[in-house]
C-alpha cells in the first residue's frame, strides 16, 4: 500500500491547483529546447498536450496510428463538452460541476483531480473559441448551452452533433501550427509496442511503422501516453477500429499500475446489434435524451407482436407505453446518468418488454418534442444524427421512434496516475481516457472531452514541466543502448511468434469469442460465478490463440492481420485483469454492477466501508496473480451518499 503516492497538494480543495502551480518547478526557455518529449496519440489529450508543450519550447515528437493526427477517435464524440461557465444563469458553479462529477462517478474518483478538472473547464471553452471552434450560438451572438445526463443545469457547449470533431480539429490546428514551424516532429501510421526504461525511468518507446513493418526506436526525457481506452476488448463497441489497449498494457507490463480495469461505461443510446458480421456499434448522442423520450410497451403481448413484426410502435397508444425512466426517476427522467439508463433498458428487455426483432432494444421517441417544438427545431438540433440513423437502419426517426440499446463506449479505468498524471513509472505520464483519474465508476456525458482537453492544454504542460526541471542537464538519449536493444528484441520476438503459429483461425474469430465472454460475464451485470467462469474461459482462449491463430504474410510491410493479432494478444491478457478486478470489488458502483449487491429497488449498492478505494494492479509476471494496491479515496468536501436520481 505504500507504493502509491497520489501527491495531492496540501491546502483547501479550491486552492490546491493554484498552490501547485505557484510552487512547482519550471524550466527556463533556453533549457526547454534541450529536453525531448514523446507523445503517443493525437486525440484531445495528446494533441492538445503536444501543441502546448511545443509552444512552451520543448522538443516534441508525436506519434499517431492513423494517416493523420486529425483522425483520432475523439473526433467521434457528438454531444458536447461541459464547463462551469454558468452563462445560462441557472445556478452552476465550479463546485457544482465538481460535485456532479464525483456523484456521477458514484464516489470512486479522487476529489482533488476532479476539482481541478471543474476549475479549468472554463479555460477550455475560452481556448477553443479563440482557436475558431464554431460552437453553437444564440441569436444575440453568445454561446448556447444544452443539458446532459446527471446534471440539473445546462452546462454543455456544443457544435451541432459534432462537438468532438470541432474540438479535435481545434487541437489539430494548434498542433499543425507547431508542425509547420518545425517545432513538432509528427510520425503518422505508427503504433507503440513498448515503453523503454533506463534506470527505472521512461526514456523512450519502440514503435512499428505500419506501412513498412519496420520497428523504430525513439528516445526522450519523458513519455506521454494519450492512447485512449480499451473498450474494443469487447470486439463490439462504439470505439474506432484501431482503438486498442496495447500501449497501456505494455506500460503495465513494464511497471505502470493499472487502476479499476473493470470500470467500463456502457452507453445507453446506441444502435442495436443487427447481425453477426457486424464490425462495430454506432452511438447516438446522449444529447438526444434532451428531447427524446425512452419507452417500451406496457403489455408484454404488444412487445412480442412488435418483435414478430406484427405491430408497429406507432400502433401503440400513449396510455399503453411505459416511459420507464420517467416512471422510476421522476427528478431526472430521461436524463439520468448513463449507467442508470443502461441498466434500466437491460432490466426491461430481460423482463421481455424489449422491442426490435431481437427483443434487445428500446424506443427513443421524438414525437412529443416534434409536436411541441416543430420538426424544424428538432432538425436543427439533431439533423445529422437523424440522418446517420436513417443511413444505418433505413428508418426515418422523424416518423417512427429510434431503436436503441446499450453498448460498450468508454473505459473509466486505465493506467493509475497521481495528481500530476504521472504513472508509477517515473517519467511516464498518461492523459485522457487512457488514465483512470477523473470519472470514478461512471463518466457523465460531455465530460470526456472536458477531461481530454483539461489534461492536454492545462494540466500536463505544467506537471510534465515540474518533472523535467531537474532533467535539463541530462543529454539527449541515444537509442543504441542495451535497454533499447532488449525492448526491440522483445517486440520482434512477439511478432515472430505470432507469425510462426500458422494456425487455423483468424484473429477476428478469437476477438469475437473474447468479446462474447466479456459481454456475457464482465458486462452490464456481473456475479461471482460468471466472473470466475470468465477467467477460466479467457485463460483457455488465450492458450488456444497462441496455438491456433492464423496471421498471414510477413513483417516486411503493411500487415493489418499482424497489427490486429498484436492488439488481441494484449486484450486476451487485459480481459482477465478486468475480470479479476470485478471479482475483487464486492459491491456495485457506477458502471460496475454486481448482482449480489443491489438495493431492493434494483439500484447499485456500494460498500463504502470496504471499497472506497481505487484498485491499482501491479504486474507480477505472466501467469502470476497481479498484486492489488489500494489508494484510499478520502472525501473531505462532499458528503458521501447513495446516488439518488428520483428526487432533486
Amino acid at each position: 500500500m505504500t507504493k502509491l503516492d497520489s501527491k495531492i497538494p496540501a491546502g483547501p480543495l479550491a486552492e490546491k491547483w493554484t498552490n501547485y502551480k505557484a510552487h512547482q518547478n519550471l524550466v527556463n526557455p533556453a533549457n526547454k529546447r534541450k529536453v525531448d518529449i514523446i507523445v503517443i496519440g493525437t486525440g484531445l489529450a495528446g494533441g492538445a498536450a503536444a501543441a502546448s508543450l511545443s509552444e512552451m519550447g520543448f522538443n516534441v515528437n508525436v506519434f499517431c496510428i492513423q494517416d493523420s493526427p486529425r483522425r483520432a477517435h475523439s473526433i467521434a464524440a457528438q454531444g458536447g463538452i461541459n464547463a462551469a461557465k454558468n452563462y445560462p444563469n441557472d445556478g452552476d458553479s465550479i463546485y457544482r460541476l465538481f460535485y456532479d462529477t464525483i456523484k456521477g462517478g458514484d464516489y470512486r474518483a479522487r476529489e482533488a483531480n476532479v476539482y481541478r478538472l471543474a476549475e479549468v473547464s472554463n479555460n477550455i471553452i475560452d481556448q477553443c473559441v479563440a482557436q475558431g471552434v464554431p460552437f453553437a450560438r444564440e441569436y444575440g451572438g453568445l454561446l448556447d448551452n444544452r443539458s446532459f445526463g446527471g446534471a440539473l443545469v445546462s452546462r454543455t457547449f456544443y457544435a451541432r452533433g459534432q462537438t468532438g470533431q470541432q474540438l479535435l480539429l481545434g487541437a489539430y490546428s494548434a498542433l499543425s501550427k507547431q508542425i509547420g514551424k518545425g517545432a513538432v516532429k509528427m510520425y503518422t501510421r505508427r503504433e507503440m509496442l513498448d515503453v523503454v526504461k533506463i534506470d527505472g525511468r521512461a526514456r523512450g518507446v519502440i514503435v512499428r511503422n505500419l506501412v513498412t513493418g519496420k520497428l523504430e526506436r525513439h528516445a526522450a526525457h519523458a513519455v506521454l501516453l494519450a492512447t485512449g481506452g480499451y473498450g474494443n476488448l469487447f470486439f463490439l463497441s462504439t470505439n474506432a477500429m484501431t482503438s486498442n489497449g496495447s500501449a497501456a498494457w505494455r506500460a503495465y507490463k513494464r511497471g505502470a499500475f493499472f487502476a479499476n480495469p473493470s470500470f467500463v461505461q456502457i452507453h445507453p443510446t446506441c444502435i442495436p446489434v443487427h447481425g453477426d458480421y457486424q464490425s462495430k456499434l454506432t452511438l447516438m448522442s446522449e444529447s438526444l435524451r434532451n428531447d427524446g423520450r425512452i419507452w417500451v410497451p406496457k403489455k408484454k403481448e404488444d412487445a412480442v407482436k412488435i418483435q414478430k413484426g406484427q405491430m408497429k410502435p406507432t400502433d401503440i397508444p400513449e396510455e399503453e407505453r411505459d416511459y420507464y425512466l420517467e416512471r422510476r426517476y421522476p427528478a431526472f427522467g430521461n436524463l439520468v446518468p448513463r449507467d442508470v439508463a443502461s441498466r434500466a433498458a437491460k432490466e426491461r428487455c430481460d423482463a421481455g418488454f424489449g422491442v426490435g426483432s431481437t427483443g434487445l432494444a428500446v424506443y427513443l421517441d421524438f414525437k412529443s418534442s416534434i409536436e411541441r417544438l416543430g420538426k424544424k427545431v428538432i432538425e436543427a438540433r439533431y439533423g445529422n444524427l437523424f440522418q446517420m440513423y436513417e443511413k444505418i437502419v433505413d428508418a426515418n426517426p422523424y416518423e417512427t421512434p429510434m431503436m436503441i440499446y446499450p453498448a460498450i463506449h468508454y473505459t473509466m479505468g486505465g493506467t493509475w496516475v497521481d495528481y500530476e498524471l504521472q504513472s508509477t513509472i517515473p517519467g511516464l505520464f498518461v492523459g485522457g481516457e487512457a488514465n483512470f483519474s477523473d470519472h470514478g465508476a461512471n463518466r457523465l456525458g460531455a465530460s470526456a472531452l472536458m477531461q481530454g482537453l483539461s489534461d492536454g492544454y492545462f494540466v500536463l504542460p505544467y506537471t510534465m514541466q515540474n518533472y523535467l526541471a531537474d532533467q535539463i542537464t541530462v543529454p539527449h538519449f541515444k537509442t543504441d543502448s542495451s535497454e533499447f536493444d532488449a525492448a526491440e528484441k522483445d517486440v520482434q520476438e512477439r511478432i515472430n511468434k505470432l507469425l510462426a503459429v500458422k494456425g487455423g483461425h483468424t484473429v477476428d474469430s478469437f476477438h469475437r469469442r473474447l468479446g462474447l465472454i466479456m459481454w456475457d460475464n464482465v458486462g452490464m451485470a456481473r456475479n461471482q460465478a460468471g466472473l470466475e467462469k470468465a477467467i477460466t474461459e479467457i485463460k483457455a482462449l488465450r492458450k488456444e490463440f497462441w496455438q491456433d491463430v492464423k496471421v498471414p504474410g510477413t513483417n516486411d510491410g503493411l500487415n493489418v492481420e499482424l497489427e490486429k493479432a498484436l492488439r488481441v494478444a494484449d486484450f486476451l491478457e487485459l480481459g482477465e485483469l478486468m475480470a479479476y478486478d470485478a471479482l475483487n470489488r464486492k459491491e456495485s458502483s457506477g458502471g460496475h454492477f454486481r448482482e449480489e449487491y443491489q438495493t431492493p429497488e434494483g439500484e447499485a449498492m456500494r460498500n463504502d466501508n470496504e471499497f472506497m478505494y481505487a484498485a491499482a494492479w501491479e504486474y507480477k509476471g505472466d501467469d502470476q496473480k497481479p498484486e492489488l494496491h489500494k489508494e484510499p479515496l478520502i472525501y473531505e468536501n462532499i458528503e458521501v451518499k447513495q446516488r439518488n436520481y428520483k428526487t432533486a
Binding site: 509552444e55 483522425r71 479563440a130 482557436q131 464554431p134 451572438g141 470541432q166 464490425s279 443511413k391 492481420e561
Partner: protein, 246 residues
Amino acid sequence: MDLKLKIWRQPSAHADGKFVDYQVTKISKDASFLEMLDILNEELVNKGEDPVAFDHDCREGICGMCSLFINGRPHGPDNAVTTCQLHMRKFKDGETVTIEPWRAKPFPVLKDLMVDRSAFDEIIQAGGFVSIATGGVPDANSIPIRKQNADLAMDAAACIGCGACVAACKNASAMLFVSAKVSQLALLPQGKVEAKERVQKMVAKMDELGFGNCTNTYACEAECPKEISVTNIARMNREFLVAKLS
C-alpha cells in the same frame, strides 16, 4: 445478396497494380460496405491469401479515414455518406462492383486501396489555424458572433478531410478542402486577423503539392460526403483577391 467485385490490388507504392476479381455471397443488405469487405478479407485470410488493404477507422462517417472509389464515384452510389456509412441495400443482387483507390497525383497509393493523404495535412500546416498559444485568451463570451456567421462557419468546418473532392475532380483540385478551412476562419472574428496571410500560404502550398486548378464543374460538391458547398470556393477566391490587392 451475391456480388462480383473488381478490386484494385497493388502490393506497394512502387509496384504495378491491377484489377482482381472476387466473389462474395450471402451478404446481408443491412451490412455496411466495409463489413462486406471484412467478410471478403476473412475469407481471403482463411485461404491464406493477402487481405485487401483499405483505410478506415471510426466507421461512423466522421474521422475521414475511409475512402474508396466505388463504381466510379468517391464513397459510392449513395449521396452524403462516407464509404463506412454506405450500406449494401444500395446495391442490387448479382451486381458487379468496381473498387478503386482515390486516383490523384498528390495522393499516391501505398497499398491496394490505401493512399497517402499527408498533402492535406501539409496544407493545414501552412496556415489552417489561428496563431494563438495555449492560455492568455479572452473569455469566450467576450467575442460575440452573429449566429448566421457561426452557422456558416460550422457548415464549412464539417469537412472531414477525406479527399473525395480531389478524387472526384478531373483536375485533382483541392479547392473545396482548402476553401472550407479558409471560409470557416474568415467567417469568424478570431480568424480575421490573419485572413490575408492564411489564404495566400494555403493556396501556395496547395499549388506546390501538385493539386490542379478549379474549372467549376462542381463534382467536388456533388460527391462530398458532408455536403460542403462550393460557395466556400467563391469565398476563398474573394479572400485571395482581397489579400492580393491589399
